[in-house]
């Protein structure tokens, strides 16, 4: 690919004695999962476009420990947390943005009492702030007339009461934002949380992601917008099962990058 993404690392910044405006915490899914990598790139394109001086940890980043903690492995979680905090504090990081609500929740809520106190933003909140500051504009035309429904990630919504930032962004797309019956506080989980992503579900009569996809299909969307790489995977799977080819699952960052032809 000829595309050139500017992705400086914290180490490079430190070498020149400078501090970036914000650290982009990519997360494991964003680094390794093929689908999530596209979200990461879309977000980076937007950061480049808005000329945000950001940096990533690159090879110095490690799992926040969220799936370990929620599986009950507090030891592993705290080992991950303490090592990550050491790296973050060594770089004197003040502000973090991440496209993964699980990383967001862990960094924001569970790191402070272990010595890691940062301003942590979800990428939809960060993009919203860029928009408000006039550093980023959103071209709406491309999604005109499309029906978009937003699936609330549990770790962004109920866990941290962030409901409006992603919706405010979607509304800028000239698209029709349609809400599922179960949205915001009542949003149904995609089925991936609490480390379920990494195991088969217990015996039941249905998969959770199928249930959620059916709820989404009730409002006849062209696009299901997600704000979490794990929700994205689960909903994409659900759509493959139920409505292949009719509905697209896209991250809010991808929607905006797409709209801006990035």
């Amino acid at each position: 690919m000829s595309e050139v993404l500017k992705v400086p690392t914290m180490a490079e910044f430190a070498a020149t004695g400078k501090q970036p405006e914000v650290l982009f915490w990519v997360g494991c899914a964003g680094s390794f999962d093929d689908r999530a990598k596209k979200i990461t790139k879309a977000f980076v394109r937007l950061l480049n476009k808005a000329e945000v001086e950001f940096a990533v940890l690159g090879t110095e980043e490690s799992c926040t420990g969220d799936p370990a903690k929620r599986s009950g492995n507090e030891f592993l979680f705290q080992m991950q947390a303490v090592t990550n905090i050491e790296v973050l504090n060594a770089y004197d990081v003040k502000k973090i943005v991440t496209a993964c609500p699980h990383c967001f929740n862990t960094l924001k809520n569970e790191y402070p009492s272990l010595g890691g106190d940062y301003i942590v933003m979800h990428h939809t909140q960060f993009l919203k702030s860029l928009l408000d500051e006039g550093r980023l504009t959103i071209e709406g035309g491309k999604f005109k007339g499309k029906r978009i429904t937003f699936h609330d990630p549990c770790f962004l919504g109920r866990a941290n009461d962030v409901y409006e930032a992603p919706r405010d962004l979607i509304k800028k797309l000239d698209a029709e934002l349609v809400e599922m019956k179960n949205c915001r506080k009542k949003g149904l989980c995609c089925g991936a949380g609490g480390a379920q992503m990494f195991k088969d579900a217990e015996q039941g009569d249905k998969e959770i992601n199928i249930e959620r996809t059916e709820q989404a299909m009730e409002v006849k969307p062209d696009i299901i917008a997600a704000g979490c790489p794990f929700c994205n995977t689960m909903m994409t799977d659900g759509v493959k099962n139920k409505a292949e080819g009719q509905i697209k699952v896209m991250d809010v960052a991808e929607l905006i990058a797409n709209a801006n032809d990035l």
Binding site: M1, E74, K108, R158, N160, K186, F198, E202
Partner: protein, 430 residues
Amino acid sequence: MSLLPNIVFALILFSGVAFFLRNVSKLKRNIYLGKDVDTSGNTKLRWTNMAKIALGQGKMVRRPISGILHIIVYVGFVIINIEVLEIVIDGLFGTHRIFSVIGPLYGVLIGVFEVLAALVFIAVVIFWFRRNVVKIQRFMKSEMKGWPKLDGNLILYFEIVLMGLFIIMNATDVEFQSMNSGNVISQFFAPMFEGYNVHLIERVAWWVHITGILVFLNYLYYSKHLHILLAFPNTYYGSVKPKGQLNNLEAVTNEVKLMMDPDADPYAATAEDAAPPDKFGASDVQDLNWVQLLNAYTCTECGRCTSECPANQTGKKLSPRKIMMDTRDRLVEVGENIDANNGEFKLDGKQLLGDYITNEELWACTSCNACVEACPVSIDPLSIILEMRRYLVMEQSDAPMELNNMMSNIENNGAPWPYNQMDRLNWKND
């Protein structure tokens, strides 16, 4: 002779209240079997939560039908209790409708009580239909068979009878009816009793009414209905942190710090007075904290949590309500064990994990917080699920195999999948 009713009344009242207080002290003891937990700070926010959620019924109306009916019963229950005060004074001092000295206002007061009593009666009958005829799904789940179902209905019967007696008591009170003020509902029932010994009926209704209230008060301890009292402390002590924030185990923090400290002496003798390391996580009720145990006693088994639970909705065994019911049942069992063994818990070969809650239920949770959000009285089933997972993983090494793989990946290469940490930036050039 004329003092006999007063003495009998005083005895009934005293034994009713005394037995209740005895059970309250047991309740308190059982709750404090739980570990200590820091609930300091945020006093203002906690009072606000209690005022909004318990007193103001803020979360009840999210389901409008049951919410509004519940508010009717709640308001009725609280206000009609002013009448109980009058009954107690009358009973102790042999007076009759002592509050009537306040004049015309008394009629207004009793009128309000009568209207409320009628509304409560109607609401309770609708509740009964919802449970027994309409069979609303959340009351039909497997954990609601047997005693929980009977308990729910008994409470409704109690309320129907108490409200009925209150109206009968007023309808057969000749003096009160002749005042013709405040008998807004009872006047329609008064003619039904013409030709009978109304004085006797009035006395019987009066006595059964107050005795019924005392019996109901004492029934609470054995019933899910305890929520009418515990909802208040429970909403006060409910979490004031973001729902996504799970507590960091301090015992683990100490171990991790020791591991990370290059100056730590691995051979250093532990101080004489050092406490033995905690059990990690929870396998029984004593391993939970007292707020979690208070949660268990507060649960009134409405099932809003379970009906919002993604695992339960898709047919898995997990039901957050069952987690709370099991915790209470086991706690009661432990309490009885202590009572039977002179204040000392004797090992009974049972525990919350396994004998009440299975691994399968625990591993079905997505930690999505839907149950926590749904609870109208700030109960947190997720925190109990997490504590039990901690025990399974850190004490028993008993996680599903796929999760063990995920965890060893994190341990070895810093990601839940087997990718190298050194490849973390490769996406840039893909």
